[in-house]
């Protein structure tokens, strides 16, 4: 379960205070997936990070008894001069006791199929190899919720395909919080949605309704 209690987030800009959302409250029962809708810069990724507990709102709070992943797909998590193995070991150490680290590393090595590149610095990887490592790593753990950000970071086509596969694989056991521009997938893979528009956040219990409203809001202004 994840509960958002009257979250407000704003940034100070030269033109004054800019609100991403005000007084956002909602409760997400375990297992339900949620899509975040909004134009570029509306605050989708920020909301994703706030739900994940790695960014903070100005006021309000996030209450949760679930395990939540890091934002999958976000660039900046890997240290380029370290090998794939060293990066995976680092993250595994953060999330599981030491005696399970070797098992996680083995899982990622097999899943990512990087061959000898697994022992080479991540900065020598192609973007496809990087996304295989990213997804191998996120597959190795069973979080109650996965945060997936396809918009910022390395959101190329291969990456989106991988993330669709991750969701298919994990949707029986986990919930998702998904930021994507692909409305069709959002409809298929999410149960509910939050739409961010003009400094307001609107919660929709029904994803189809959310997409409909978003379409009529976003398309004419394109």
């Amino acid at each position: 379960m994840i509960r958002l209690e009257s979250l407000t987030k704003s940034y100070m800009t030269k033109a004054g205070r800019h609100y991403l959302f005000k007084d956002l409250s909602l409760e997400l029962p375990t297992g339900r997936s949620i899509g975040l809708l909004g134009k570029n810069g509306a605050g989708k990724s920020t909301l994703l990070r706030i739900i994940g507990g790695i960014d903070h709102a100005d006021s309000g709070r996030v209450v949760s008894d679930s395990t939540i992943s890091w934002p999958v797909g976000l660039a900046g998590g890997f240290q380029g001069s370290l090998s794939g193995r060293q990066n995976v070991t680092f993250v595994s150490r953060l999330y599981v006791p030491e005696d399970q680290v070797a098992e996680k590393v083995k899982f990622v090595r097999e899943f990512a199929e990087l061959g000898k590149y697994f022992e080479m610095p991540v900065k020598s990887y192609s973007s496809g190899m990087k996304s295989r490592l990213t997804f191998g790593l996120s597959m190795a753990f069973d979080f109650d919720y996965y945060l997936i950000d396809e918009v910022s970071g390395v959101g190329d086509a291969a990456f989106r395909k991988k993330s669709a596969a991750l969701i298919e694989e994990k949707r029986k056991s986990s919930g998702f919080i998904l930021v994507t521009h692909n409305l069709k997938r959002l409809k298929e893979q999410c149960d509910a949605a939050v739409m961010l528009s003009d400094g307001k956040a609107t919660y929709f219990e029904d994803i189809a309704e959310a997409v409909e409203v978003y379409d009529s809001y976003a398309i004419p202004t394109k």
């Binding site: 100070m12 680092f90 953060l94 999330y95 006791p97 399970q100 899982f107």
Partner: protein, 268 residues
């Protein structure tokens, strides 16, 4: 399939995070590609300083170092200082430099400070040991009578550095300019810490002010521990301990007040 991440206590999570960050730092600095250069630099940086002052001392032919071997004197001043100052300067940009790591929820800013400062301390201590061995090999008398005192002094300096690094991290987070100003102040402090001269050659008027600085208190004890003939009557570990408690308390207090802000996005 895979077991879900097990519930751990906050302390277990913090220890795991510090541990992971520590090894990440070790691998980054001494990884396969930096191996030779990494190790070499760890020895070269203090080695060159020691050499510089040894040459300087022998040219000006002044007995600036009473009661002990000049090389030993320099080594036991320069390495503790390097540990302290590099911990402080690295802490200044720590929030910005570690932004990517805060994507992993178990990682808190303080963990990176503890991990990095501990690595600095271990490196400096090991390089110190290396130089002691080197000097001993070439005939310098080194006492092992006060090894516990030496270890204690290093441990206290390590904790002091963590506290100080926390303060620097918070300052660097709020204003990089103020942080840089403090780093300049620390460079100046180097000359007022009795590193290339002995406190015993200072006139009492100068000594009075230098002794406000906690660093020479611990450095003089390290010197005394490897060369017991070197007196420690001006300094006191008790004073250093008091300074440590103040610095650590202030560091933790500032950290606690600013942890959230360090992990909050301000703009894009």
């Amino acid at each position: 399939m895979q077991p879900s991440p097990k519930r751990r206590t906050s302390l277990q999570i913090q220890i795991a995070a510090v541990r992971a960050l520590f090894w990440r730092e070790v691998h980054t600095r001494f990884g396969a590609y930096n191996l030779r250069l990494g190790y070499l630099w760890v020895l070269l940086a203090p080695g060159m300083q020691v050499l510089f002052f040894l040459i300087l001392f022998s040219t000006i032919r002044i007995k600036v170092v009473p009661y002990m071997d000049a090389g030993l004197f320099l080594v036991s001043g320069i390495l503790p200082w390097m540990m302290f100052s590099s911990a402080a300067s690295r802490a200044m940009g720590a929030v910005e430099a570690n932004k990517g790591l805060f994507n992993y929820r178990p990682v808190m800013p303080i963990d990176s400070i503890i991990a990095r400062t501990t690595l600095e301390a271990l490196l400096s201590f090991n390089v110190f040991m290396f130089f002691l061995f080197f000097l001993w090999w070439f005939g310098t008398t080194i006492s092992i009578e006060h090894v516990p005192l030496m270890v204690l002094a290093w441990l206290l300096l390590w904790v002091f550095s963590i506290g100080f690094a926390l303060i620097m991290m918070v300052i660097g987070h709020w204003s990089a300019e103020v942080g840089r100003f403090i780093m300049i102040f620390i460079r100046i402090l180097y000359f007022a810490s009795g590193i290339m001269y002995s406190l015993h050659v200072l006139p009492p008027e100068a000594l009075k002010y230098v002794l406000w600085n906690p660093i020479p208190h611990v450095i003089e004890h390290i010197r005394h521990s490897v060369a017991p003939a070197y007196p420690v009557h001006h300094v006191s570990l008790e004073y250093f301990l008091q300074a440590l408690i103040v610095v650590l308390f202030l560091g933790l207090l500032l950290y606690r007040g600013n942890e959230r802000s360090m992990m909050t996005s301000k703009s894009r």
